[in-house]
């Protein structure tokens, strides 16, 4: 079996270079065919993966002096998802056709069988026969005049056709598995229908042989066809539903555009995304998907990032803003410098995280795994035991009943429902989570969320915005004029201090004009000074004012008041006179207070840890309604706090940012990292929020709890279905109630059971 790989080759400038690379590749062992394209700077190689690998092919290219590398996995991932989707939809169409045709033939076969049996061995069919027998007798009297022998040969031919056309794969797959000493759903269907078919063929060939031995010469042709038809119907529904469970991942892989407009030497070239390098300038036109991750260098626009962050409002982008590949540019045009491509890109990392999560196992599944490994051989043993017991224990016509019961056991048993119970729930839940704006690391994390009883929130960046803003401008008690703000903002615009940045941004937002500054000096730990429009401007704390010989007393009470609110207050003086007070604070996110209240409603104990001082921490905690706070905590202190709670038997979730709080996130039973749309590098976290909003934690809790519930329901249903279905099919109710399950009814039940499980998992798609 050959594989094809396209390697990027750089450094080729002429046809001779191209020929040299091509020759080197063709000579390499295991290469079937190599085509080097000078214009695309690539080599497409068909090779035998048993003899060589992409790495060795890259080595062969490098041996010629040109550079190449193994293409990143990201495009492969999209191709894999696409291949999978194509196969799934082909499978669905094929199953649907086969199911439809065999269902129709099965019904016709049922009609044809009517004249052959006075009583039908299959209880369902004999029940149906009582209803349709006389209408058919009226409508098609010729049918009843036909020779039973001709009818049964006709049925045999039709059944053989259905079995070999629609049902062939059951037998081939069962045989493949058998050769590997394995058994699956196909084994059960193949053995069940195969036994019924063989018996019917013998009866057709020599009915007298059976009659002479007291065995009713019943035919199971229509049962075989209907069983195959119903199971195919179930498989078709299941294939369609399974395709839907992976839709979220597929959608994400398709977000990656194939081409990028790279600006080189002043003109725009359309290049495959794989050829974009970090540092390239890329152009984004209105309405287009952004090709790779980058930083805006020119132009402005609003970008729709909802597909990655769940944020429905478009995000403003100006020079310096980060943009993410796969998001959709609004009406503006801009250029950006590529900062991450291929596997390093945010989209590729989200896709690979989601894929890992969907592939993960949940502890709940362990029992199901253990059972499904031994399930089929055990069921076959049970079916044989059923046959033997019926044969030994019933006096008359025992063979027919024993046989039907044995076949029913084989057909009703459904290992698929058990195998699908947990993985489909994980697939749908992790996909839904990505739509809502968070990534869950896997099934195990989903299960852990449900056990959380305490939630610890980091203050900065989690409860608050994580960014200082200008909150208060207080004038001198005897001056109402605030025109000094312009002078202060001008000075602060030059400074690099975070407080200064907040003041200059805040002033700009208040419409203040900035003037040039001369003689700027920053005094670490105190403030800054400089000259604006001929006046000396001083901004800083009391120590700064003292150095300048200015008395802060008139504004001291106001400063104390602001400090008590957790704000950082700085004095401002212009021309040697105290003019006012500015306060800067990290504002609480709008959703924080409501979310904290909602956590409490869910029965969680909420606490806050912060590296900030007690006053600031208390001020924020008061605003959002948290009583238990730990202030002045270093990263180690946060870990110690979590350990202390765990020692008291609490199951702790920690919410913090992925970088500074990594140790605490790892120490907690559940680490939830608040990321931005551009930052999902949170190794230590179990859940990563793709937009900074505490309210998503609530959704994560809700979705996880619901997912665990769905998994439990699925497992329960799958187990109970088999636990009840198999004994009933074996005839446990017969001695007491006279209830015997028909093989056809058994196949309908089996087809439904796995569809129910997948359908139940799909309900998670609607979670809000």
């Amino acid at each position: 079996m050959n594989r094809t790989v396209t390697l990027p080759v750089s450094g080729m400038t002429c046809a001779a270079c191209q020929a040299r690379v091509q020759r080197a590749l063709e000579k390499a062992p295991g290469v079937e065919e190599a085509t080097v394209n000078l214009l695309l700077n690539s080599a497409t190689v068909r090779f035998d993966p048993g003899l060589t690998s992409p790495e060795q092919l890259v080595g062969a290219v490098r041996g010629t002096g040109y550079s190449s590398h193994v293409p990143s996995d990201a495009p492969d991932l999209a191709a894999e998802e696409l291949a999978r989707d194509v196969e799934a939809s082909r499978e669905f169409r094929e199953l649907r056709l086969k199911a439809g045709v065999s269902l129709a033939i099965g019904l016709i076969a049922m009609v044809l069988t009517m004249p052959l049996m006075a009583h039908h061995s299959d209880p369902l069919l004999s029940f149906a026969a009582r209803w349709v027998d006389s209408p058919i007798r009226g409508a098609m009297p010729w049918l009843y005049r036909a020779s039973p022998r001709a009818l049964s040969y006709g049925l045999l031919a039709v059944t053989l056709w259905v079995v070999t056309w629609a049902g062939r794969h059951f037998y081939i797959r069962a045989f493949q598995a058998f050769r590997h000493r394995a058994a699956d759903m196909n084994t059960l269907i193949a053995v069940g229908t195969g036994a019924a078919l063989l018996f019917s063929i013998f009866v057709t060939l020599d009915p007298g042989f059976f009659r002479a031995r007291g065995v009713a010469p019943d035919l199971y042709y229509e049962a075989v066809i209907l069983i195959i038809a119903l199971i195919l119907t179930g498989n078709a529904l299941e294939a369609r539903a399974k395709r839907r469970t992976g839709a979220a991942l597929r959608t994400l892989t398709l977000l990656q555009p194939a081409f990028a407009r790279v600006v080189r030497d002043g003109s725009e070239l359309t290049l495959p995304v794989a050829q974009v390098a970090v540092g390239d300038t890329v152009s984004a036109r209105p309405g287009e998907r952004i090709a790779v991750d980058g930083t805006v260098v020119e132009g402005t626009s609003a970008v729709d990032e909802s597909m990655l962050t769940g944020e429905s409002l478009a995000v403003e982008k100006v020079t310096g803003s980060r943009v993410v590949g796969g998001t959709i540019n609004g009406t503006g045009a801009f250029r950006y410098r590529a900062t991450a491509v291929g596997q390093e890109s945010v989209l590729a990392r989200i896709v690979s995280m989601l894929r890992d999560a969907q592939g993960s196992r949940a502890p709940l599944q362990r029992l199901a795994d253990r059972i499904s490994g031994i399930f089929v051989p055990v069921v076959i043993s049970l079916a044989i035991a059923t046959f033997v017991l019926w044969y030994l224990l019933t006096p008359e016509a025992s063979f027919v009943r024993a046989f039907a019961a044995g076949v029913s056991v084989l057909i009703i048993a459904c290992p698929c429902a058990m195998g699908l119970a947990v993985p489909t729930a994980i697939m749908v839940a992790t996909g839904r989570a990505a739509n809502l704006g968070f990534l869950v690391k896997g099934g195990e994390a989903l299960e852990r969320v449900g056990r959380i009883d305490m939630i610890m929130l980091d203050k900065t960046g989690t409860i608050t915005m994580g960014k200082a803003v200008l909150t208060d401008v207080v004038g001198h008690p005897e001056e109402s004029d605030l025109s000094w703000l312009g002078a202060v903002a001008s000075l602060e615009a030059v400074s690099e201090h975070p407080v200064a940045a907040a003041i200059s941004h805040g002033a700009a937002a208040r419409g203040v004009r900035v003037d040039p500054v001369t003689g700027f000096t920053a005094e670490p730990g105190r403030g800054a000074s400089g000259t604006v429009a001929g006046h000396r401007v001083v901004v800083g704390n009391e120590a700064m004012l003292a150095k300048e010989g200015i008395d802060p007393a008139p504004l001291r009470p106001a400063a104390a008041l602001l400090a008590a609110q957790g704000k950082t207050a700085v004095y401002a003086a212009v021309g040697g006179a105290l003019v006012g007070l500015l306060a800067v604070a990290d504002p609480v996110r709008p959703s924080s207070a409501a979310t904290v209240a909602a956590f409490r409603k869910l029965g969680l104990e909420v606490s806050m840890v912060s590296g900030d001082n007690q006053v600031t921490a208390e001020a924020v905690a008061g605003q959002v309604g948290i009583q238990h706070i730990v202030a002045g905590a270093l990263p180690d202190g946060k870990v110690a706090e979590i350990r202390r709670a765990q020692a008291h038997g609490r199951v702790v979730a920690m919410v913090g940012d992925g970088v500074n709080d990594a140790p605490a996130l790892a120490a907690a039973d559940l680490g939830i990292a608040i990321g931005g749309g551009t930052d999902i590098a949170a190794e230590a976290a179990d859940v990563v929020l793709m937009r900074p909003d505490l309210a998503i934690v609530l959704q994560a809790l809700g979705l996880s709890r619901k997912t665990v519930r769905v998994m439990r329901q699925n497992l329960f249903w799958a187990f109970i279905y088999n636990v009840i279905g198999i004994p009933v099919a074996a005839g446990i109710l017969y001695p007491r109630f006279g209830i015997l399950l028909s093989p056809v009814l058994a196949s309908a039940a089996m087809a439904l059971s796995s569809v129910c499980v997948v359908g139940n998992s799909l309900r998670l798609r609607k979670f809000v």
Binding site: R3, P49, S53, E80, F175, A177, H180, G359, S372, S381
Partner: protein
């Protein structure tokens, strides 16, 4: 007990015993991965209703590459899962898919299909 009942009973018991022996107790195919020039331990595994060889022996510390050739389109085998190495991969029908991992400690690791029906093992030595 009439003769036919004795035959059915005996036949049934033998059949049950044989099935359980065949699926659970019989010998499994085994093979060791061979190291390629680049130091990767490589082995070809056929995926069709199961994995052959069923037990794969590899050495610790060096990368392992399973060349999984899926020769059927039975959806039962469309995914391979090696939980201990965090691997779940889709295997396109009638194609070879490479799966790589590096075992760091010795031990036996389960290989299963997506639904846990088919089984194999990686034995790290």
């Amino acid at each position: 007990m009439s003769i036919d009942r004795v035959v059915v009973l005996a036949g049934g018991l033998v059949a049950i015993a044989w099935i359980n022996w065949y699926f659970f107790l019989s010998r499994r195919t085994e093979a060791s991965a061979t190291a390629t020039a680049s130091g990767v331990q490589e082995i070809r595994v056929t995926v069709a209703g199961g994995y052959s060889p069923r037990v794969i022996r590899v050495k610790t510390g060096r990368p392992v590459r399973l060349m999984l050739e899926r020769t059927e389109n039975n959806p039962c085998s469309e995914e391979i899962v090696i939980p201990d190495f965090g691997i779940r991969r889709f295997l396109p029908a009638n194609a070879v898919t490479a799966v790589e991992f590096t075992p760091s400690v010795g031990g036996t690791h389960e290989i299963t299909c997506g639904m846990g029906m088919l089984h194999g093992q990686v034995v790290v030595e």
